[in-house]
Symmetry: C2
Subunit: 320 residues, 2 copies
């Protein structure tokens, strides 16, 4: 900028004014400055600007894994909203490691992002408090982070309840639940929805039909249940990875899956799912964040987005 000023024979400040399109610059002078900028290939140094202004026009996005379609959907939505708001997105995957989440968040903070969108992995987010005090806005997505902060969730229990009820309506009385381990918020909620549906229908809750744990064990768990004297006639799966694991076992059990996935309609039978809307999850969170950044006050919101049952065949099979 100094060079540009020299080249255009004006003061530094005048160049600054031109670059920022501030009023009060003679058209002729401005033209001279623009020419000099062009000639020297000058581009404003955003770091210095940030230092001066305090706002970085960037937000941090912390998710579990960009490579997972659910999170990449969120990712894309956040990106789009950010772009519309003139912000950039710094993103990082935690891979379910709370330590890595913490590292990412703190790094983002020291880079002075204006706000954070976090899919919380650990349960303890105390370390965020000083940052929040320092004025960084934060929104939790998909799971609550244990702090009194804006949060956007899917209606996990309601969705699971709908899905299980769907199976019950089709005549199933013994329905297996295969889901993530109980330490994960969404898994607990979905299991709750499952129980709720059983209760609604007056069916007993049988613990031996419930398997929780990582996706790798889902297949064997279900296979085990099928060897019972009184095996389940249908299964409700708690997330996509588990759904796939169950599908790979080759049992063609009637099934409703939580979370939609590509090609669910091309399998035979098509897989009936309770679909979440990752894009809407992401955009809602981002909109909320930018409203906060724009100065909107008020108590933290907790938004629950509806899920949608998509019948495709597997959930409409009757017990055999």
């Amino acid at each position: 900028m100094k060079d540009v000023a020299a080249a255009a024979e004006v003061a530094l400040k005048t160049v600054s004014r031109v670059v920022n399109e501030e009023p009060g610059v003679n058209a002729a002078t401005a033209a001279r400055v623009v020419a000099a900028i062009e000639r020297l290939g000058y581009r404003r140094n955003e770091s210095a600007r940030v230092l001066r202004k305090g706002r970085t026009a960037s937000i941090g996005l912390v998710i579990e894994d960009v490579a997972d379609p659910f999170y990449s959907g969120i990712s894309r939505a956040v990106e789009d909203v950010a772009l519309r708001n003139g912000s950039l997105v710094l993103s990082g995957s935690t891979g379910k490691e709370p330590e890595r989440e913490r590292g990412l968040v703190l790094t983002f903070c020291s880079r002075r992002v204006d706000g954070l969108i976090i899919v919380p992995t650990g349960s303890d987010h105390e370390y965020l408090l000083p940052e929040l005090d320092a004025g960084i806005a934060a929104v939790f997505v998909d799971r609550p982070g244990g702090l009194d902060v804006d949060t956007v969730l899917s209606d996990n229990s309601g969705g699971a309840r709908t899905g299980v009820t769907h199976l019950i309506r089709h005549g199933h009385r013994r329905i297996a639940y295969v889901g993530d381990s109980a330490s994960i918020f969404t898994a607990t909620e979905r299991l709750y929805g499952y129980r709720h549906a059983l209760r609604d229908a007056g069916l007993p809750y049988d613990e031996s039909l419930v398997a929780t744990g990582p996706a790798e064990q889902a297949g064997t768990a279900l296979t085990g249940m099928l060897s019972f004297d009184d095996p389940p006639t249908a299964v409700f799966t708690g997330n996509s990875r588990i759904t796939v694991a169950v599908l790979r076992t080759g049992h063609r059990l009637p099934m409703v899956a939580f979370d939609d996935f590509e090609l669910a309609d091309l399998l035979v039978p098509g897989v009936t799912v309770v679909a979440q809307d990752p894009v809407r999850l992401g955009s809602t969170a981002a909109e909320l964040l930018f409203r906060r950044l724009a100065g909107e006050l008020g108590t933290p919101e907790r938004i629950e987005l509806p899920t949608r049952l998509i019948p495709r065949g597997s959930g409409e099979l009757r017990p055999s």
Copy 2:
């Protein structure tokens, strides 16, 4: 930092030294400073540091769409490599719009990223030249960007050739090619591989069996071909979106698809694919970038990663 210095009753520079773990600070003094840092909840302002040092320890990643599994694979790999190198990733999706790509790249540059990893969307990347001169490193991934810059690609033509040859070996003589429009580098390469395979086998190249264009038209194009007097007995699809479009038509034509996709093995029959390795694509590009950032000189490299044929059934069917 000023406050910390005051609280610890030392000079600004001493705090800086402690924060950066520079040698030459008395242990007792350091302890006092650390205590003050703790007490005040101080965290270094990275923007100021960047301004002073010139390096931002961040790279820009420009891809077509994070929500596409192929690109999110790249994304994740880049992220991991960056993290290992102490860098952050600014990312953005272009959605195939050259204008948006340009905007993203220039924004990243004005934020002084150290380097860029770009999946080029437009063909004209002249606008990058001033940035490259300014010392920003760049690597193109998946497609060349028309500039003499490090580039990491899949072996598109070789992969397609292998895939088509596979069908030929299984007795097919009339093989349809349904791929992306010719303006896209990878599509041209794959079509070239297709022709190459036909030539190798002494089969004629029949233009009426070749459909290029967006995925939305892929289904109808293939359906059209199947009404010929002498219809194709197998199809080679040029990318995942097109593969899915073709699958949705419901024709159970013998088929080899370029690019692997989740659940390809669960369809009936399993879909034989020529798999690319997005993760390796991303990590190779990132490694290359960081080597350049570390000062490695030499002429730009052009790396072509091998593809892998994965037989799953659909490609092993004989003509009916």
